[in-house]
Homo-oligomer: 584 residues x 2
């Protein structure tokens, strides 16, 4: 037995016990006649003491040789400390060492194993196995484990059955790019790694499994944006004999359960907001509602004056930034530059200060008098001391720009509090979205998403207005889950394909497999998938998913720790019946 | 809401309730004036009744149109049945239907959705989504879910943390063949799918995670034998600061927990048997100890007579088949033919009947008298009425042959009872095994497996005799788990590589990555992995893993349901910088 206790559990009540501990040397302080060593393992830190007066000389000598991150095992007696350390749970005691064994020496690590390390992102990723020794990373992984355990226990208690679906499946031309796997046994043929178990979960509903879930890796070969991973984890769920309301109830319940278990936070029924409302009020289909700065539409009060830019705009819209009337010209100019950056793309921004004396001071005073500006304040909910920022232009684009500005300001003002949680459902998403490139409508979710019955008649006349039985669960400005009620009857499916511009042959070719299965008695069904990486990060009060993944890849899709991907040898290529193309 | 109850929950106490049910038509009986329909969902079957005297004529007509596997929704009143059906939990009631809605029609399924179906393996796999509607398959999937939940809860309660390791990793030349994934973003380079998370779990120990587990898919591109899958699931575990005994305790605990929770079976401490003992007593390193027929070595009592075949054999060994003295000459000849098949490869078999009058009758009576044969009976533990079967030849080969015969006879005699569970540990595996092909020793487990300290001195003189800290958990004649204590110090590792015939350069090239990580303070660690597919099958009283996988592949590695693998289009190949080789 290597240890009688771990490094996080000894207390004053254990005084005088003989114990055996093992772990890593966090640090040591050598006063010559006395040496203290902080011994660390996953569970905590325990202070060891070596004392010339009480410790064997050989051990004393050995203790002096200990370097950072050495792995050691000690036997000793628990003694109550004279000067206690209230910062750590074991701070009341220390262990007077009587036996010391160096289990493994360690080279000096390339960065310090401390909560705040001196290692940059790159070096930490290369030595991720050392990075994980640091509390913040280690705790994130433990936290993720707790989240998944709670998810599994909750869903299992509701009769959901976790079913493993295959990883070696078939490539489909629709959607994002697949990772593929050449088959040695079937020359010239390839498996694909699943982008999601969508088809299989729908088949499991046809199969009568009724309530399915799976915490499962998914793969997308996309050009990686910051904080995207080629492999990511979903909590994938599907239910039969349900309507949208049933799904919302179950997964609202799951989210409430997580918030309660993990943060002891009670949240009542989640607000629900239609897609249209979310866009109107927040310019965003995943609004962060932890703070205000809601959009005020100003068309009525700001158009038909002499300010041509507003007059020709489809939408004039503003937000009131709390307490920002005091911003200097320089600060405001910086904000104007910020929205004019290509990533945001506004052509300019109008502002109006709500001064403490009740007056207004705007960048367009030439065109708007105090009465006009008062109406702006009223439309944006601005109070004395606030700064109104106004954008104008095409409606969708302008909303998106103002939403980006709203989030930026919220970050700067510290309004996005990591330990405050404001979930909501965004519902009634459009069924279709217009694709400029192909000049036709595409399914916004996927072609099996069901339209709202009452909107089906609009498919012929105004397809963009048809709403879907599709919903997103939004938490603190992030989409953490989304799904839909699926089409399960032939007639609606045929109608959908027609409106998506598929011929019957094309539909059969691309989706024939699932459609055929549906002919054997598909139940009404629908589901939802959570992004586990993001869900965990947000529940953990953070936004970077990489910090919640044990061995993440970088933005080039590389694992810098193991140096993958890498070349493989020619014999392997030959067996797989493939050749590399000559580089161009 | 599609239903107020599921099809498995109504009881006599629900009589007179108005209920809403939904499900599939299992079957219907039409007596003209009365129609009964068995409505099925995942949870059970409820009988619906349509009665001319009480049911609306339109609904009556609709009910007549219902085909097998139609998906319907009904509203009705629960009534107590006159003739109850004790075979199903809902057998006391039926539902008198007042409203009927056909949610989806169904084509006639290609095989009957019954416990005993008329569909063969191939057709059931092609329509797996219908096969899963059958109770035996559905129950296997639910059973698997329960097993994984119990595993996760048990390990979590012991502070094990489930960590997801990456699926897109790096190909390694050692071991089985990797599946590889061409990287589009890194032309000419490939990821590999993990054969197991071995490296990552050891890195997690270096990272201080202390107790790790993961239920995880693994991939091996091997020529598939019956009941092997290219993707399979492991319960992968690793612990730090432990010795072999700690691992055995924890995972014996897990197995005991599963047997208790799933079958309410209490099992005391698992027997432990060394590899040598298992081979000697059962000719097999995964002995089925639910029954006897232990090996009796006969060298001492059967050699040095005039029977040359025995005299020149390294080993003469027999088993006593209970009650088989009554076998006819034909039956015995069939057994002799059985062991002479190329799959077994014995050149012949000697038998001896233990007759009811206490005499012995053998096929070698010419060479052995009654006194000799009595010694055979004593060595094999044969009783009156038993049949002793004896093989001879090179020790390892002969044991393997006799073990196959023992298992075959146990199957025939019904001694392998599916609901009896006899786990045991097989320990002290050899560290090295001789490879005829390369003419050198290979690591039996893997090169990081630690040798027993007391055997290290044999590495130079008798390497085949060195035992490893390696162990298998065996259940009912199947290896369900296996693992080892790893080497964590440089000196032993260097010694191992030397004896495995690696130069320092080769060792660095193939294992450098992990060895480098070890330099930063590796704790003593070890672990084990269970094969979840097999574990579940055996706990479920079966041996075919395919029956416990939702969507298995066939022996050619194909998913016949989705028809994968398949060709991909040339644009995809181009993006991936690969070409297909012209077929040879």
């Amino acid at each position: 037995m290597y240890r009688s206790h771990n490094c996080g559990e000894l207390r004053a009540a254990d005084a005088n016990k003989e114990v055996k501990l093992a772990g890593w040397v966090q640090k040591s302080r050598d006063k010559g006649f006395m040496i203290w060593v902080d011994l660390r393992d996953r569970y905590g830190i325990t202070q060891l003491i070596f004392d010339e007066a009480r410790t064997d000389a050989t051990i004393m000598q050995q203790a002096k040789s200990l370097g950072r991150e050495f792995v050691i095992q000690v036997t000793g007696t628990v003694i109550e400390r004279e000067s206690k350390n209230a910062n750590i749970p074991t701070g009341d005691i220390e262990v007077l060492v009587t036996e010391l064994s160096i289990l493994n020496e360690a080279q000096v690590p390339p960065f310090t194993i401390e909560d705040e390390t001196d290692g940059g992102e790159d070096i930490r990723m290369k030595y991720r196995y050392l990075d994980i020794r640091r509390n913040p990373v280690k705790n994130n992984l433990l936290f993720r484990h707790n989240v998944t355990q709670e998810v599994r226990n909750y869903l299992s208690s509701l009769d959901f059955c976790e079913v493993e679906t295959p990883y070696l499946i078939k490539s489909t031309p629709e959607g994002a790019r697949d990772f593929v796997v050449p088959s040695r046994m079937n020359p010239g043929q390839f498996y694909a790694l699943p982008q999601s178990p969508q088809t299989f979960k729908q088949l499991l509903m046809v199969a009568g499994m009724d309530r399915y879930f799976q915490i499962v890796k998914c793969f997308r070969d996309e050009d990686l944006r910051a904080d995207r991973q080629p492999e990511f984890t979903q909590i994938d769920c599907e239910m039969s004999f349900i309507e949208q309301e049933d799904i919302l109830q179950v997964f609202e319940g799951l989210t409430r359960h997580l918030l309660k278990k993990i943060h002891d936070i009670d949240i009542d029924a989640f607000p629900r907001m239609t897609f249209d409302e979310a866009m109107r009020r927040f310019g965003n289909d995943k609004p962060d509602i932890r703070f205000g700065m809601e959009f005020g539409e100003l068309n009525r009060v700001a158009q038909h004056k002499d300010f041509g830019i507003f007059n020709t705009a489809e939408l004039v819209v503003g937000i009131a930034v709390p307490g920002a009337a005091s911003y200097t010209r320089k600060q405001i100019d910086e904000l104007i530059d910020w929205v004019k950056r290509p990533q945001i793309g506004a052509s300019g921004m109008v502002y109006c200060k709500c001064e403490s004396d009740g007056s207004f001071k705007s960048s367009v005073d030439k065109f708007f008098d105090q009465e006009d500006l008062k109406k702006w304040a009223s439309a944006t909910g601005a109070q004395t001391g606030d700064l109104i920022l106004v954008l104008s232009g095409p409606a969708f684009k302008t909303r998106t720009q103002l939403s980006a500005l709203r989030m930026e300001l919220a970050n700067r003002l510290g309004l996005r509090k990591p330990n405050e949680f404001s979930p909501l459902w965004v519902i009634d998403f459009p069924l279709l979205e217009w694709d400029e490139e192909t000049g036709r409508y595409h399914a916004m979710h996927h072609p099996f998403t069901s339209p709202k019955k009452e909107d089906i008649h609009l498919l012929d006349t105004d397809p963009g207005k048809v709403r879907a039985n599709a919903y997103d669960l939004v938490l603190n400005g992030n989409e953490i889950g989304g799904g839909s009620i699926r089409i399960h009857d032939k007639e609606t499916q045929a109608l959908m394909f027609k409106h998506l511009g598929f011929t019957e042959e094309q539909a059969q070719e691309q989706f024939g497999f699932l459609m055929n299965a549906f002919q054997y008695g598909a139940p009404p069904h629908g589901g939802l998938a959570f992004g586990l990486d993001r869900l965990t990060a947000i529940l953990g009060g953070q936004e970077t998913i990489r910090d919640f993944i044990a061995f993440p890849k970088n933005n080039a899709g590389r694992d810098v720790m193991i140096d993958a991907p890498a070349a493989i040898d020619s014999a392997q290529l030959e067996e797989l019946n493939i050749d590399l193309r000559a580089s161009k």
